[in-house]
Structures are given as structure tokens and as C-alpha cells.
């Protein structure tokens, strides 16, 4: 599925810059994520992809530039506030809660939308809004059979699925996914790609990924970063033949 021409822009980064002392990790990067499309960001290690995700999600502040979420300037918003406004992210390393069950992992994430911490007498399990959202998210990520299993006992691929399920439980509009396919076998990769394809319909997805075959299969648009700067941003077919990309990144292929 290709992006609709007039699909709404849900997340927009403008001239995002991040300096660490003298090093420019991200240099005036602009990016737009629209509903219904997967926008992949590729680049070698150290190209600034993770830093870009961290800035967009509010984990670190940018040195310059702005971030707009659903039409609102959120550059100065802290990460939790952005998350509540509809920005979900997954991490490169697993950040699930290993001692909790799969269900509790999702339920806790869903709770972010109905926090009510002052209701100290009421059992968290009885909050129907978050339990329903948790079940729904787990089912969408294909984990509905494993709800009662402690997350620490899942396979690697299932843990990555749970990462996505926890994102979905917060009912986000935008998904920033940091290497969701890392360390996955062929079958698990297929399952994850099918899931992403399904999620694309009602989300705007940013995908940072090293698996080039997967990226070219799933992405509607690809941005290539080298040393913190964007050298190309286009549809996959154009990126495949882009001369600068070929020399800088795909040269060995």
C-alpha cells in the first residue's frame, strides 16, 4: 500500500539538530510522518538514527529545530506528555517487564491513558478500560495465546512483539520503532512485517532498521542518513538507484 497523496501529517520534525560538544549527531534533519505510511530511516551505525528518534519522542531535547505532533508544537513538551498525546515508541533493546505477565505488561502500558493514581483502594486489574485495551493490543500483536506467561520466558521474537503490543496499548497515533526486527529469525521477521503492514492503515510509522530487504519491502518512503545529515529521502525505487546513496551506503551491495 502506498501513501495517499493528501494523508494528514501526524508528526513533523523541522531542521532538527543535536550537538554533543563539537560533534553534530543530527544536522538539520526534517521529516514528516503521515497516517497510512511507513517511513524508514536507514544509515550506518552512528548516523544519528537513534538520536533522531530520541529527539522526536522527547527523550532528549534538540539543540535546534522543532517537533510538531498532530499540528501542535511539542518541542518543549516532556516525553510523558508527548506519549499521552499519541506518540508511542519502542526501543532497540527490550524494555519489557520480565517478571510481569504479558497481560500485565500491556495493562500497565494501557494504564498510562487512565492513570487515576489517587484511586488507591481500587485494584488495578478491575480497571476495565485498561484491561480491555491491553487484551486488544496483545491480540493485535499476536500474543493473545500467551497472556498469562511471564514476559521473561518469551522467545526473543515474542519479546519484540510484546514491545509493539505495549506501544499499541497506549493507543498511539504515531509509532517510532527502533529496530523492531533486530535479532529475529526469518519466520519471526515475516510475522513482524505482516504486523507492521497491518498497523500502517491507522498509524504513522517511523521505522529505524538495519534489515535492508525488510525495509525495501515495507517502507513507503526511505530517508538515508550519513553522519547526522539526510543525503536522500524518497520512495524505495528511487533510493535504490540514488547515486549518492549507492556510494555512501549501499555501495557494497
Amino acid at each position: 500500500m502506498k501513501p495517499e497523496t493528501n494523508a494528514p501529517v501526524l508528526l513533523r520534525g523541522r531542521d532538527i539538530t543535536r550537538r554533543w560538544g563539537g560533534l553534530v549527531a543530527v544536522d538539520r534533519v526534517s521529516i514528516e510522518l503521515t497516517r497510512g505510511s511507513v517511513h524508514a530511516v536507514i544509515g550506518t551505525n552512528g548516523a544519528g538514527k537513534s538520536t533522531l528518534i530520541n529527539i522526536l519522542s522527547g527523550e532528549i531535547p534538540p539543540s535546534g529545530g522543532s517537533v510538531e505532533l498532530l499540528g501542535q508544537d511539542v518541542t518543549r513538551w516532556a516525553q510523558p506528555r508527548r506519549a499521552r498525546a499519541g506518540l508511542g515508541r519502542s526501543y532497540q533493546r527490550n524494555t519489557i517487564y520480565p517478571s510481569f505477565t504479558v497481560f500485565e505488561n500491556c495493562r500497565l502500558a494501557a494504564q498510562a491513558r487512565a492513570q487515576k493514581p489517587w484511586r488507591w483502594w481500587s485494584d488495578a486489574q478491575r480497571c476495565e478500560a485498561s484491561t480491555a485495551a491491553a487484551r486488544d493490543a496483545a491480540a493485535r500483536a499476536g500474543l493473545d495465546e500467551l497472556l498469562e506467561r511471564p514476559a521473561g520466558l518469551l522467545s526473543h521474537g515474542q519479546k519484540r512483539q510484546l514491545e509493539i503490543a505495549m506501544c499499541l496499548a497506549t493507543a498511539p497515533e504515531v509509532l517510532l520503532l527502533d529496530e523492531p526486527l533486530a535479532g529475529m529469525g526469518a519466520e519471526e521477521t515475516e510475522r513482524m512485517l505482516a504486523l507492521l503492514d497491518q498497523l500502517r492503515a491507522d498509524h504513522a510509522i517511523l521505522l529505524v532498521e538495519h534489515d535492508m530487504d525488510a525495509v525495501f519491502r515495507i517502507a513507503d518512503r526511505i530517508t538515508v542518513m550519513v553522519n547526522g545529515s539526510v543525503i536522500a529521502s524518497d520512495v524505495p525505487a528511487a533510493i535504490r538507484t540514488h547515486p549518492q546513496v549507492l556510494t555512501a551506503y549501499l555501495g557494497d551491495h
Binding site: 524494555t95 520480565p98 517478571s99 494504564q111 493514581p117 488507591w120 481500587s122 505495549m166
Partner: protein
Amino acid sequence: MTMNTIDRSKAAFVAACFAALALLPWLAGSYGVDLVTKIMVYAVFALSLELLVGATGLVCFGQAAFFGIGAYAAVLLSPASEAASLLWLLPACIVAAALYALAVGALSLRTKGVYFIMVTLAFAQMAYYVVHDTPLGGGTDGIYLTMKPVLGTWLDLDGALSLYYLTLVCLVAVFAFLAVLLRSRFGRALAGIRVNEQRMRATGFSTYPYKLAAFTLSGGIAGLAGFLFAVKDGFVNPELMSWHLSGAVLIMIILGGLGHLRGALIGAFAFALLQEFFKSEAIFGAFARHWHLGLGLTIIASVALLPRGLVGLPGQWRERLVGRSRPVAVGTEALNEA
């Protein structure tokens, strides 16, 4: 065993402990009643720290300050010529300790890890030196509580038994409160913060207010323990705020088993009874003067041999009996922290 039967056996264990404590005065003499009152006060104190360390993952090394403030408030707020009413004195002591905790938490929770430990210690030492070096609370000599508080005409805390039962009621109430709290959305958010705070923020939880609320609550509960301690002894001195006590209560919850409310309960009893044991001249003769040594070695040994604390002992035995094949360790912690 399913999760539910484990939950039920935990609840039955705790209920049996409380029932035994309720019956104890019929069996034990006045020495026993006095000792167990002290231990129950420690248990309330240990529960306050368990909320921070075990439930939220915040290692506070200045818990004695809140305990001491509760104790000093009980003495300083009591009128000299008449007995204060429990109805206002008890809440006042809790609020005094909670307010100090709110201020300390607001500043110290901006730091993390070892810095947090050091900052909480520094704030506790500050409180310690205020009572140690100023005439406010009688300086190093401390100060006496001349009239113990009363509740109307039917409860006079001058009696050892009424104090015993008041302490037991407070212990049961704090335990029940925390057990309910940790199952609530607030409690589950604290559990999430303990395991991975960054993930909680990415999910949409502003973690700072959660941690501050837990810190303040914990300070209030420690203040309650301090109040009970002051009423029991009728005397307070700066040692109640010293870092030794902060360390002792930390050892209690580690000994009992972090992450479990009943660990705090068991740890307080184990610690205090070990202390009594090594202090006993009947057993150790002149060597009883060096009780710190015996206690210290025992604690080191138990931490080395019981990585999950005394609470984890049955599980450890079970694993040894059935073999180590089943990966139960990850699953058993699950939802019910009580």
C-alpha cells in the same frame, strides 16, 4: 501450584502471624510484651522503607530522619501538664514526618542511584544535627515524654498492654493499606518505575510525582513508627535519627526479602530477635558485649546464602527438592507483592 493458591497461602501466613501477635500477651510476660511492641514498631518502620526500596526501587538511606521526626513531634507537641489526645497527636506526628519527606523527596528525587542514596543520607544527617546540636529537643541528652497520650477515658497508653494493641492495630492497618495500595494503579505504576523508569516515561507516566508521592507516604508511615517508639519509651534522643538506624532498617528489609511486604515483617522480627540473642549474657557471657560482631556475621551469611531473603527460603528449599529445572524464579514474583 497456581498463582491463586500461592496468593492464598501468603495471605494465610500473614493472617496467622497477626493472630499469633494478638494472642501473645496471654503467653508472654511483661518483658516479652515490651520486646514484641518494639519489634512491631520496627516492622511498621520497615514497611515504610519497603514501599520505597522494594516497591519503587528507591534506595533511601535516610529513613531514620522521618522516624525521628515522628518521635520528636510526639514529645514536643505534647503539652507538659496534661495528656495529649491520640486523635490529634498521632496524625500530627505523621504529617510532620510526611512534610519533611515531601521536602527531602522534592529535592533528592532529582538525583538517581548512588547520588540519591547519598542525598537522602545528607538530609537525614542534617535533621540529626539539628536535634543534636540545638536545645530544641534537649540536645544530646534527649527529652522525656512526661504524659503519654490518651484516647478519651478508655485508652491510656501508659499501660503496656494498651500500647501493645495500639501498635498491633497500627501494624495491621499499615500492612493492609500497603497491600491494597500496591495492587492499585498507583502501586502498579511504582512497580513499573522500579523495573524500568525510562519505559514508564515513554509510555506516558510522569514518574516524578509518583515517586514523590511514594516518598511522602513512606515518610508519614516512618513518622507513625517514630510516634509509637516515643510513646513506648517515653523518651527520645538524637540516636533515633542516626544513620545507624537508617542502616538497620535497610538490613531488616533485605534480610526479610525485598519486594514483599511480609519480608519487611519477617525481617524486623529476625533482626530484632538476632540482636536479642547475641546480646544475651545468659548465652554468651562476657562476649555479649560484642554482640555487633555476631549479628554482623550472621547478616553477612544470610545475605550470601539467601539471595531472596527469608521470604525466599521456602522457594529455595522447593527448588532444591524438585531440582532446578523449572524456571519459577521469573514467574513467582508476578502480581501479588503482598
